[in-house]
Amino acid sequence: MAPVPCAICKTSRALIIRPKNHQKLCKGCFITIFEEEIHHTVTTTKLFSRGDRIAIGASGGKDSTVLASVLKTLNERYNYGLELVLLSIDEGIKGYRDDSLETVKRNAVQYDMPLKIVGYDELYGWTMDQVVEAIGKKGNCTYCGVFRRQALDRGAKMLGIKHVVTGHNADDVAETILMNLLRGDLPRLARSTSIVTGDESSEVRRSKPLKYAYEKEIVLYAHHKKLDYFSTECLYSPEAFRGSARSLIKNLERVRPSAILDVVRSGEDMAKLVPEAVTGISHCKSQKVSLSSADGEEEGAAGCGTNGRSSGGEMADMEKKLQEDEEASSREVEITSKVPNGVNGQRHDRIGAKPESRNGVKREPGKKLTRQTLGTCKTCGYMSSQDICKACMLLEGLNKNRPKMEIEIDVEDEESSTLRRKMEGLALTAA
């Protein structure tokens, strides 16, 4: 069979079928168009200004490595005038980050970029290993998750940098859109679609220049550019809603390759249709959602790797919650109602949830909407929907050498139900 010529240069032999649109390209043209598309994203969204110092959240994985490589290339090719810095987080788990941090260190040399590794000890005064020592193996995942959400921003702040870029790709964004539809969270859906999060009030902005780049193309780019990255499969199953959305996205891509982009497009359009009143709060009563974009891990974050999470539990918990809500609101309906046996006995009360929000006035989800205001943590000054941010709450508990119980767990705590059970267990043993 005659070799197929590249669809762009028409001279070289096509070796790559673009995952995004099945265009047949030669290696050179693929690399060029991949870079040019990101340049297009950067310029049309006016992501950077000349002289900006940008921290690249670097984990050593494919996404952030490709991001660093492409930004370096574009910064030189188009004279963006950016100062690029690699920023890595060390959770302080012996052995866990060793390989990936080594990769990031090599990247720093390869790309000639300064590297800053910030440790949890430096940020919080506790390494994860110390946390585990203090509270035991159970439940430490939540500490890690809460700490991690702020770590990049706090790290950037330490460096005096106002803009962190992360390697989130189109697959991550599409997955988050479907996930938030499934769990009925329009505010989060709306926020996850914008390329930049954090407004004027935030000290550190976050953006995702790879927002429109397909994961498969990122892998191809890394492969053909022979980039040095640390490939690690996450051993832990994602939270149930995310896992569900992830497999949907994979199936959709198989059926129609453009579907990932089409979902992103839908999400951007839907973000404009979210009514003002909804943007401040989730549909789910008593599940507070903070307005802060920075403290919510929006896309495809990996687990901290120290503790597996239950898969499916989140969906079951939400199902139960929704059924209880509906049950409460249908009591007045003239139908023989039957309360499922045992439900009252096994209610999942949220930790420290105020009684009024629990037994609260009957509220049909989504009908009555209250607004939540965004403030800053009184202890650390970090954006928070509560007086004291979650990280500070946890720290306070740790510093008193016991877990802090009075925490309102946000919906973004994917592990919250697990944590709840574990904390309940802890309370018993501690007593």
């Binding site: 598309e37 769990r183 497009r265 979210v274 989504g366």
Partner: protein
Amino acid sequence: MAVVDVAPSDEPLQYFCKSKCFSQYVTTKAIKRMETYRVRGSIAKAARKLLFPLSFGPSSASLLYILDQHLQGQYDRMNRAAYELIVVHIDLNLEAADRKQSSELLDQYKSRFPRHTYSSLGLEDALLLDNIDWTALNMPEPLQNDSKNTGMDKLQQLVGSMPSATSKTDVITTLLTRLLVDVAKRNCCESILFADSTTRLAEKTLTETAKGRGFSLPWQVSDGMSPYGIGFNYPLRDLLKKELVIFSSLTIPPLTDLIILQGPSSHISASSKLTTIDDLMAQYFQSVEENYPSIVANVVRTSSKLQPLSGDETAACGLCGLPVAEGTDGIDGWGGDQNSASRASEQQDGKHKVLCYGCSRSING
């Protein structure tokens, strides 16, 4: 809360024991959504006309049964009814033998529920609509009559020209909606009563999202006036598909003989080339419905909260007819296109026709 929701794992036998209660639950949920069509006051007013698309599936069969009883109740109490149903079956089959079967089945409906007006059309009748931009589909305008080809041939040709299975299904769905709106208008109906269950509306939410039609969700899942100038109502929006399937077997006599069951699994093909996005979502929600029925309902509640953009200049999509905000038509020229040249070149050719993102994707693959 109904028995079924409380214990989804109940044995079918238990359902039968509670069947009366369950049937009443289903009926109440549906009738509650028909509040606006109560008989009011003592002065007789002309009955409001409502179009009732009958697909022969369990949901539309159940809804017809429920509304037939509802109307009977109104006659019994008030000696008049607040509304009348114009039942229409749109035949999607392209084979003559299948069509004969459909018309026989429709006759069975007529004899079981004789009080309503019935009619039947083939989907090819949509090709006669003059408010669709046929040039976008490479089709001749309806008036350019070429006698060689029948409507069915032309429809087959049109569907065959679509680049993928998903696009085929998409264009069929679109033509179906547009034809229904046309039939409703010609029959002076004020609304169309769609028998979509919660499960179906959840499927639709994710299907349209996956097809790039997120912008259209406010008109796809909510009750009220549609952009076509006719009301869209979903009286079964609070019921799960599985509840309706059970309900249809509990009526006396059961509706089973009147129903053509089309499980989503029958569409799922081993080859991804033949699988559609619609199939994927149907299959997905069938499984979610099993264990997490409230999550299905919550998806619909969530997408129903989306509000149409107000104040923006819009133009109707040449195919689906939904309002497209200025500058957001087509699949080119948005952030994800990443090609600055594409939109400019498109606009140069003068007659720039508006297609929404989703329709444009379906036609262009």
